[in-house]
Structure formats: C-alpha cells, structure tokens
Symmetry: none
Subunit: 248 residues, 2 copies
DNA sequence: CTTATTTTTGCTGGAAATTGCAAGAATATG
DNA sequence: CATATTCTTGCAATTTCCAGCAAAAATAAG
C-alpha cells in the first residue's frame, strides 16, 4: 500500500468521523501506530489536519465561527438546500451569499452542473474549486474572519457590475415588516447589492431565523422572490405569502 | 512493445486503480522496474500523473494541484521563508503572491505580527484567517482552480489601487536576461501589477527555478530588489548581483 | 550496405526513504 | 499520587531511488 493511499484514507475518515485515532488507523491500514503517527505528522505539516493526543481532528481555519455553525441544524439545512437545487439550470450565473445554508447547497451540486458562481465566501469558493463544471468568481475585499467572507467597498463594486440570474441569500434574520437584517454593517451592505444585481432572489432560511431582526438592514422583505425553509419555517409562512412571496 | 503502448497501459491502469506500482507494472509490461520508473518520470514531466515512492497516483483534477506541490522542496522553502521573515515590520502593507514559497512564509508569521496582507491566493488567505494580527485583503476575480489564485481584470484593478511596502513574489521562473516569467498569461499579468504597486519587490525562489524561463513575461529582472533563495540558488547568484540585485 | 550516432533498456552499487521496534519521557486519568 | 497511555528519540532492517555504465536496438549518414 502506498503512503499516499494511507493519506487519502486518513483524510476521508477524518471527513466522515470528524476525528481519527492512532489505534483505529493502525488496525484499518495494517501498519504500526508509529507509522500512523508519522503520517498524521506529515498531514499536519501541510495543514490538512490538527494532531491531538491519541489521533487527529479536522483542520478548522476558524473553529469558533463558521465551522462551528456548520453542525447545527445540519439536517434542516440539507433539506433546504435540496429544495433549492431545483432552481438551478445549466449556463446560469448565480450569486451565492456566504453562510452555512448556501454552503450546504454548493455541496449538493451535481457534478454535471455548468454554472458561473459569484461569491464572497471562502468556504464556498474552496468547495466549488473541486467542481469540474463551475466557474468561480470571487469578490475581492477585506476578509472578515468570523464569517469568512469578503466585504467592503471593493466587494460592493464588483457585485454591482454583475448581472446574475439568481441570488441565493443565506439570510441572517427575516421579519415580515422589518425585512431582511443582519448583524454586521458591511456584510449587510454587500447583501443589499447582491439583491439588486440578481433577477430573482431566493432566501435560504431555517425556521428559527424567521420573525427575528438584527441591527443592520439588508432590504425589504418584498425583495425576496422565494423563501426556502424547513417545517418550522413553513408554519410561519402566512404573513410572507400575503405579501406575494413564494414560501416552500 | 512501443514506449507509447506502455504509457497508454500505465495511464489506463492508473485511471482504473487510482494507483500504479513499479513492481506490478514491471510484471505486467515485462520490462525492468527501471524502465517503469523512467516511464513514470516522463509521464510526470508532462503532468499526467504524480510520482510517489513505489509507484504513482493520479494527478487529481483540480483541488490538489496546489497541495501536491507543497511536499516538494519543503525544507528549502522553509529555509527561504525564514530568511524572508526579517523583512517584515509591524504596520506594513504586504502584497503576497500565490505559490508554495509564499504560503510557507505566511505559516511562519509570529503571532504578534501586525500587518495588512493583500493576496490573490485562497490558501494564503485561509492560513492568515487564523492569525490574530493580520488584516487580509483578498483580490477579487475569476478563480484559477489549478493554482488556487484569483486572476483577471478585476484582480488587476484591485491591486492597481493599492500601495504596498513590500511585494513577496513566488516566482515561477527567473532568468538574468529574460527576466521573470510564468506559465500562465493571466497570472503573469497580475504579477506584473503587483510589482508595480509595491515599493520593494522580494522574490522567493528555489534554486531549480533560477536560470529558467516560461512563455509569459512578468517583468524585467531589475524590478526585483532582493532575491531570496537556497544554496543551489546562491551558486547561481553572480549574474543577478552584477545587476545590483541583493541575493541572499 | 556499412558505419556512426542516438535512444532505449537493464544492471550495479551506493544513497536515501520508510517502517517497525524499544526504552525512556511526557501526559492524562482516576 | 499512582497508573496507564501516549509521545519522542534513536536505531536497524528493508525497500526504493538514483546516477552512471554498457549492451542492444533504432535511426541517420555516408
């Protein structure tokens, strides 16, 4: 067995289990624990994982912000993302907002899909880098470490020049009267431009965000064409539907 | 059996098994392991596969083009990066080109360092996202999957507006007469603008890149203020020093 | 057709990398 | 604090790699 095969196995297992143990790997790969230790050492050197006593855990660039949020409501987000897939057609240009719901959506892209995706999100860009049919346009600007997106005037200028078929928005908070709001001024400004640069706006939002508000306004609720949500969200759908918004 | 037939067989087997071994191929093709080794060497030269100890693995579609390059010359790159550290001062604005040498440099940033780093490279941006004292400005543009950097007119426009103290350039090829050259037109154009937007240009280059040239020109060699290289590179330093370039 | 040149191939011996083992140090756990 | 894991370090056995050489094959030149 080649060393690289072991590397591959380790990284896959790490992705699946969110941890690996010396003892397990030694058994799985039929090599001594010392070899496993050395393999983990090599992978850690290249920043592919973090070595810990007894094994290793995934390398999370900013463990307390983006990656932590990925776990929560995971099934809900997957279900929402699956509904969103039906909006995609080959050849479209898509603006993909940052956030865990939109990230989940990009993970579901079928390999045959042909798209141009404009995004300020590093995790989404990295995810789509592995996709053969998607052209990625990354918006420039200052990097916000907590949410791993670019924002600021440069980001806005780039998006202003775009014209997209759909904008998928990972909404922070959503309220029938207050509209779409977010916790950060710069990011809210970027989201606002995204809405204006797309023909249709599709919001991906878990039920717990509906009916809530945050300090910075992105846009009016009527700027949304469609809201994709989970069961908890559907039970709160009436006021949005009365405004002519498609809630599914 | 023609050499090309062997090549064909090797590539097919690689596609089927996701790996090939010297021993197996030697047996399958009825040639010595040395011949197999040389065949793999030739195929690796053309970027058709990645040679590893004991055999070869496929050249993954896109995502690992960057990661694969990380292992090679690792110690040399670290030594080069360590020399480059001494150029950094708190408060500076740095343009950090893509590439494995510059990536190695960012990994060595001491936690107390306070910088603004402008970069088109996703791996560098991710690395610096973990750094408490560094502000990251990511240049926008189309994402080039093989080298994991943005490039194109948007990237150029953003860098043009910058004024940096130092540009650290991960040079592809470097020749005393031909100048700095690279394998990709768009990336070369971006590098050119980087050079113009910085007060000083520091090239990080392993010895094997010195005295070589590629299709697309970045700038004249005299645009470099300093070349940081390894021992192999230092032995080739004379022509550069005659041009007034600091080679260390 | 013969001879010279280049390319390919296999072999050899030393260099380098990989792996497993053992003993002592370091770290966690109750 | 005692005990059990786990980690580090050094080392030896094995495998694999590499550079150079010589024979064989292919190609070019006379």
């Amino acid at each position: 067995m080649l060393k690289e095969e072991r590397f591959d196995y380790i990284l896959r297992k790490l992705q699946a289990d969110h941890k690996v143990l010396h003892t397990e790997l030694s058994n799985d790969l039929q090599v001594s624990e010392d070899t496993v230790r050395r393999d983990l050492e090599a992978l850690a050197q290249n920043g592919l994982l973090i070595k810990v006593r007894g094994g290793a855990i995934p390398h999370s660039p900013h463990p307390y912000a983006f990656n932590e949020r990925i776990g929560i409501h995971e099934d809900d987000k997957k279900a929402i993302a699956a509904k969103a897939l039906s909006f995609l057609r080959d050849g479209q240009t898509i603006i993909m907002d940052g956030g865990t719901s939109t990230y989940a959506l990009t993970k579901l892209f079928p390999p045959s899909l042909q798209l141009t995706v404009v995004t300020p999100s590093i995790p989404i860009a990295m995810q789509l880098m592995e996709h053969p049919g998607v052209d990625v346009i990354l918006t420039g600007g200052r990097l916000f470490k907590s949410s791993q997106v670019t924002a600021g005037i440069d980001t806005i200028r780039m998006i202003e020049k775009m014209r997209a078929d759909i904008c998928f928005m990972g909404v922070c908070s959503l309220h029938p009267e207050v509209g779409v709001t977010g916790p950060d001024m710069d990011e809210a400004a970027v989201k606002n431009v995204m809405v204006q640069s797309a023909n249709r706006v599709v919001a991906l939002v878990t039920g717990d965000k509906m009916g809530t508000a945050e300090p910075y306004k992105v846009c009016n609720i009527t700027a949304m064409d469609t809201i994709i949500t989970d069961e908890a969200g559907l039970s709160l759908a009436i006021p949005y539907r009365q405004l002519g918004i498609n809630v599914i």
